[in-house]
């Protein structure tokens, strides 16, 4: 693990960099989005309010001017009625109406907000001036006597009132035109602001698009690279696992071969030479017949020693690898193993081997034997079982072995023991499957299934050694 630390740190650092870049990129994108949105909303609301103000100002200006115009027209009419009316009563009424009109107009002129705020205030000043002068011109007339009115009235009307009225109305018209123009100008300004807003929005969109595109490209490239790295890691891990598996298979193989060769060596070299020693000692004993008893006793003692050594050697060889497996086949070896375990533990162990193919590949035999050995070992150590059933059966494609006990079982939440791992390794090495079913108080079933190579498919060849357990023997004595 310590060797991996720098690599891990490096990877963590690169993750950090990636995160920073991503956070920065998306952050900028979001900020741009928010800014342009806020800006657009603000501009739009400003546009809306300024549009309303303009319209309101225009309308109020236009109304004021209309009032002025109406007042001027009406005052002209009242003046004419006043001047030209022969009936005093009526003339007086017109004069009163004229005074009222004047009072109203004075009030309007005194109000500073009465007229639209045009950029050129001089026009209003001149309008006011004109109106003031108009009224001032009218002022003396109001105090005229009836005679004066009759004499001067028409002339005054023609020379003073009408020209002044038209000039006043002209000014009002000019102001209305200016007001109209101002409205149009305001419209233009609005349009300009809209186009500025549009340009800004387009700019922001282009910027965001470019930025987003760059971010997307960078992210995609990074993702693809990560994907590639992941794939590479995956294949690396797979390969490593495969290597590990083949290594462990090789290890198992090597161990088995080693055991086989040591066992054979013990049997052949040591065992046979001790057998030969026994033959020699027998000859020696025969040759010593004429000599004293004590000598022959010593030879006998040596023979006993050799015999017990021979037995020891054989037991060692069997512990390493039972010769039955190679000499008599799988089911005989399992019977023997079952017998050995039964004898030392008192557990009843039954072996049921049926219908096995005549030849089973060596590695399959070894694998199954070792599995059963390990399973029996587990049963004896942990299960506290009375009966163990070893079942062996085969069909064309596979050979299956089960070891079932009626012991106390176990729950499978613990970690696998080394024994189980070893079993799994062996089964994996031959491409088989291992199933272990157990539960507290339910006993345990270990089942391994190994695929058989095609060439070993079940066929009855003549003269096969293996597994003809129930065949009648050719008994010459019958």
């Amino acid at each position: 693990m310590a060797a991996e630390a720098p690599g891990v740190t490096q990877v963590a650092r690169s993750f950090l960099t990636t995160r920073t870049v991503l956070a920065f990129g998306f952050g900028v994108l979001l900020i741009l989005l928010a800014l342009s949105g806020v800006n657009a909303v603000r501009v739009l609301s400003k546009l809306q309010s300024s549009d309303e103000v303009t319209l309101r100002e225009f309308l109020s200006g236009a109304r004021q001017l209309d009032e002025v115009r109406t007042a001027v027209y009406l005052s002209g009419t009242y003046v004419r009625d006043y001047l030209l009316e022969p009936d005093l009563e009526r003339a007086e009424q017109s004069r009163l109406a004229l005074s009222g009109m004047r009072f109203k107009m004075d009030a309007m002129l005194a109000d500073p907000n009465a007229f639209p705020r045009l950029p050129d205030q001089r026009m209003y000043q001149s309008l006011k001036q004109e109106l003031r002068e108009y009224w001032e011109a009218l002022d003396p007339v109001l105090r005229w006597t009836a005679g004066q009115r009759r004499r001067e009235g028409y002339r005054f009307l023609r020379d003073v009132v009408l020209p002044r009225r038209s000039s006043t109305l002209n000014i009002a018209d000019t102001i209305a035109a200016v007001n109209q123009q101002q409205l149009m100008e305001q419209d233009h300004r609005l349009l300009d602001m809209f186009s500025i807003l549009r340009n800004r929005l387009i700019g922001a969109l282009v910027l965001m698009f470019c930025f987003g595109f760059a971010l997307a490209c960078a992210s995609t490239v990074h993702l693809l690279r990560l994907e590639r790295q992941t794939l590479a890691h995956l294949s690396e891990v797979t390969m490593a696992r495969q290597e590990l598996r083949s290594l462990s298979a090789k290890l198992v193989d090597t161990q088995e071969n080693e055991r086989k060769s040591i066992s054979r060596e013990l049997h052949d070299a040591v065992g046979q030479s001790m057998s030969a020693v026994q033959f020699e000692l027998h000859d020696l004993a025969v040759a010593l017949a004429p000599y004293p008893e004590a000598l022959r006793t010593r030879v006998d003692r040596i023979r006993e020693l050799v015999e017990s050594n021979l037995a020891m050697t054989r037991n060692m060889a069997l512990l390493l690898r039972p010769s039955m497996l190679d000499d008599l086949g799988l089911s005989a070896a399992l019977q023997w193993q079952a017998h050995q375990v039964a004898r030392s533990t008192g557990t009843e162990i039954r072996v049921e081997a049926e219908d096995l193919p005549p030849e089973i590949p060596d590695e399959h035999k070894t694998c199954i034997f070792r599995l059963v050995q390990e399973a029996l070992n587990n049963v004896c150590r942990h299960a506290n079982a009375d009966v163990v059933l070893i079942g062996l059966r085969a069909d064309d494609a596979k050979i299956t072995v089960t070891v079932q006990d009626n012991g106390r079982g176990f729950s499978r939440n613990g970690t696998k023991g080394l024994g189980l791992i070893g079993m799994q390794e062996r089964v994996d090495g031959l491409g088989g499957t291992l199933k272990i079913q157990s539960g507290p108080g339910k006993g345990t079933v270990v089942e391994a299934s190994l695929p058989l190579p095609r060439s070993f498919a079940k066929s009855v060849a003549p003269g096969d050694v293996e597994e003809h357990e129930h065949n009648e023997i050719r008994a010459t004595s019958l």
Partner: protein, 226 residues
């Protein structure tokens, strides 16, 4: 006295030499062939037609049990003595199934081989007393532990007698002659024995007899059998 023609097969020269020396003491024994593996033993047996083949079990190419099976299948009138270090029941049973009627442990080879060869050459069986003892001990222990009643008690006296004679290697006809019974009766008894003791083959019967100590082994077998 008729010559007994003998074939020896063992992959270890040292053992073959010891065996030869041992058998050479007997004037009526003649060693006609020596083989170093199972296949050679089968070939030589076919060529030289020995009366007795003494085979080691652990031999290269073809092991002794398979060689015995093939010899029994291909050569007439030959008896096999297994000479081995294995006292396990599975080896004995396999050998019995291969038709072997002589079984000698190497640890007592020098004292038993001659007897075994002589017994099987006369059509009798021979099993190392040590094997019988080991198997019998095992069997007794097994019975004691499993609390199983020994089915031997189910047999009648006559059936026990016939069981012993069959185990010793005598044929139905021999048994009929010795006991003065008709061969059909003997076959009938034989079937009863097989049923009562759940035997599937003669090998089972012999193994059982050895285990039970029903047949005297070694010297006694030869003496009683004679």
């Amino acid at each position: 006295m008729a010559e007994v023609r003998i074939l020896i097969a063992d992959d270890h020269a040292i053992i073959r030499r010891g065996l030869k020396a041992l058998l050479a003491h007997e004037p009526d024994f003649e060693i006609v062939a020596e083989a170093v593996d199972g296949r050679e033993a089968v070939e030589m047996a076919q060529r030289t037609h020995p009366h007795v083949a003494v085979l080691d079990i652990a031999m290269p190419v073809l092991n002794g049990i398979e060689a015995a099976r093939q010899i029994a299948a291909h050569v007439r009138d030959v008896q096999v003595v297994m000479l081995t270090v294995h006292s396990d029941e599975c080896y004995l049973l396999s050998a019995l199934k291969a038709g072997v009627r002589g079984y000698v442990l190497k640890s007592s080879a020098e004292s038993e081989t001659v007897e075994a060869v002589r017994a099987v050459s006369r059509g009798k069986a021979f099993f190392s007393p040590k094997v019988s003892r080991i198997l019998a001990d095992d069997y007794v222990r097994y019975l004691g532990r499993q609390n199983v009643q020994d089915s031997y008690d189910l047999l009648t006296d006559r059936e026990r007698q016939i069981l012993r004679m069959l185990a010793e290697g005598q044929s139905n006809k021999d048994v009929a002659t010795v006991l003065n019974l008709s061969p059909t009766t003997v076959v009938c008894h034989r079937q009863h024995i097989f049923q009562k003791l759940n035997f599937h083959s003669l090998a089972d019967l012999i193994l059982y007899s050895i285990r039970k100590g029903v047949i005297p082994t070694g010297t006694e077998a030869a003496v009683h059998g004679g």
